[in-house]
């Protein structure tokens, strides 16, 4: 590039930073941290943040713990600001469409918000109970928003005779833990063989199951809920399970996992669907053909990006720090030229406090197919275990053993051998890898929503096809 071109390009960047318009759709953790990062990057142009919830950005992890326990009110988890964001906040109004050609976001109230750069951070929502009539019964709850948490906390404080938790993922297990702390009888029904199986596999799941039962949870696995039944006043009173047994209960929590909020992008020509929004490792969204866009970025729970450590497979990381770190990378790349762009390469990690145990993980456990206990004691529920695939360590999990997580993280980052060499402390008598027992990933969970059309290179492309429900 000659000197005058260089100068012109630098001028363009400076002009964009001072007069450009950036719109962030999604006003939760990722959206807020991206807004702060944009200001830190020197963006002084117009910044608009759109969120469907009326509340300003708040933290969700405390909702299923401190809040349900009754220690912290549900509206007391608002996120601290790292810096002034000086944005126009459009809260309580959902984005309903994206017009890529005219660069506008459509809002539920019919308004159009123009942008030069867009950041998609719409996250996920709780999966609904398929039977709407049953879901509408009084006493049937979900937990995703602070409003949900406030309602469920109130119901638990009223000392129900029994709580039924449907689904033993992290949220369901944490809620069951809080119920036991509150002295409430609780039944947990899980379709898989044990709690936490999707994230941590069957070997760890079996330990989680023991933990639940030791704390007095009536845990029933390999079983589903067939129907929820109410009394004459429309309040839930019992659940019928797939083995025809009946659980009497007056509070039901549906914790059935999450659905990605991508419906508003239907027809926008973006690679968005039930899988999330496809993007590169620099947070730039793909269009529907899988070609990278220059002005649309995506971050947080819905961003599906290729991950170097895991054979460049496209992963979605629904983790707290993925939102925080991704926000910094997305913001930086939104105001930088190609040569200055950063990759988003976090070491995935999450935590869950339940039944007095701190469960933490690094890497992607489900990418592994073997597991080996490397430190501590399973019996005392204080241990570390490593996950391996093809002779390499890909993840680790700790139960009340978090101080060693960094040690495993460093091994995962350099794809060290599996089983890992014994740690210098607290070794079990033998290190013997066993199958990690993850569910079969080949089981179909969704139908395709995109088809290919056209033959000539000029008209060849992908087209969105709405699914018939």
């Amino acid at each position: 590039m000659n000197a005058s071109t260089k100068e012109k390009v630098a001028d363009l960047v400076a002009t964009f930073k001072s007069t450009g318009r950036i719109v962030i759709v999604g006003a939760s953790l990722a959206g807020l941290r991206a807004a702060e990062a944009l200001r830190k990057e020197g963006f002084t142009g117009k910044l608009t943040i759109i969120g469907d919830e009326p509340e300003e950005p708040y933290d969700r992890p405390p909702l299923s713990k401190q809040v349900l326990k009754g220690w912290v009110p549900a509206d007391h988890t608002k996120l601290p600001r790292a810096r002034q964001v000086d944005a126009e906040w459009r809260l309580g109004v959902a984005a309903t469409g994206l017009d890529r050609v005219n660069k506008q976001v459509r809002l539920a109230n019919g308004e159009q918000v123009p942008f030069d750069r867009l950041l998609i951070a719409t996250g996920t929502r709780a999966r609904e109970w398929p039977n709407k009539k049953e879901a509408a019964l009084e006493g049937v709850f979900t937990i995703r928003t602070s409003n949900d948490a406030a309602r469920l906390q109130k119901a638990l404080a009223a000392k129900p005779s029994r709580v039924l938790v449907i689904g033993a993922g992290f949220v369901g297990s944490e809620v069951a833990s809080v119920c036991r702390e509150l002295g409430l009888p609780v039944t947990v029904v899980e379709r898989a063989s044990a709690p936490l199986v999707g994230a941590l596999g069957g070997v760890i799941g079996a330990i989680a199951a023991e933990m639940q039962r030791d704390h007095g949870v009536d845990l029933r696995t390999g079983i589903g809920v067939k129907s929820l039944e109410g009394d004459g006043k429309g309040h839930v009173r019992r659940a019928r399970l797939s083995d025809d047994s009946v659980v009497e209960c007056d509070v039901v929590l549906k914790s059935l996992g999450s659905i990605r909020n991508t419906e508003w992008l239907q027809g926008a020509g973006i690679a968005a669907g039930f899988w999330g929004v496809g993007c590169d490792a620099g947070c730039r969204a793909f269009d529907i053909n899988g070609v990278v866009t220059d002005s649309i970025f995506v971050v947080g729970d819905i961003a599906r990006f290729p991950y170097v450590l895991y054979e460049y497979q496209f992963l979605v990381l629904e983790h707290w720090d993925n939102a925080v770190l991704g926000a910094q990378v997305a913001a930086h790349n939104m105001v930088s030229l190609e040569a200055d762009r950063w990759p988003h390469l976090p070491l995935p990690g999450f935590w869950s406090g339940q039944f007095g145990v701190n469960i933490k993980s690094v890497g992607v456990c489900s990418f592994g197919n073997e597991i080996v206990f490397t430190q501590g004691s399973v019996k005392e529920r204080r241990f570390a275990a490593a996950y391996g695939r093809r002779g390499r360590i890909v993840a680790a999990v700790t139960f009340n053993h978090a101080k060693w997580l960094e040690h495993y993280g460093a091994q995962i980052e350099r794809s060290a051998p599996f089983p890992p060499p014994p740690a210098g402390y607290d070794r079990p008598p033998e290190l013997k890898p066993v199958p990690a027992e993850f569910p079969d990933p080949h089981v179909t969970t969704s139908l395709p929503t995109v088809i290919l059309t056209g033959h000539d290179p000029t008209e060849r492309g992908a087209e969105f096809q709405a699914r018939v429900h």
Partner: protein
Amino acid sequence: MRVVVDLNRCLGYAQCVFLAPTVFELHGEEALMYDPNPDDATRLKVLRAAAACPVQAILVERLGDKEGSATS
């Protein structure tokens, strides 16, 4: 006052529990639970806890900024 703890970073050293026991507590041996909106009277203690955290996982808001409460 708004507080958030990066619990990915937190390793359960519990310095904050000693310094601000009404705001931070351990659930079991190492799972941290905390009040994300503690009373302003605890501010000094919380700031000390944030400063003492060996892994610097505690973020305390230092802005007097009320923006964000505006709705459409």
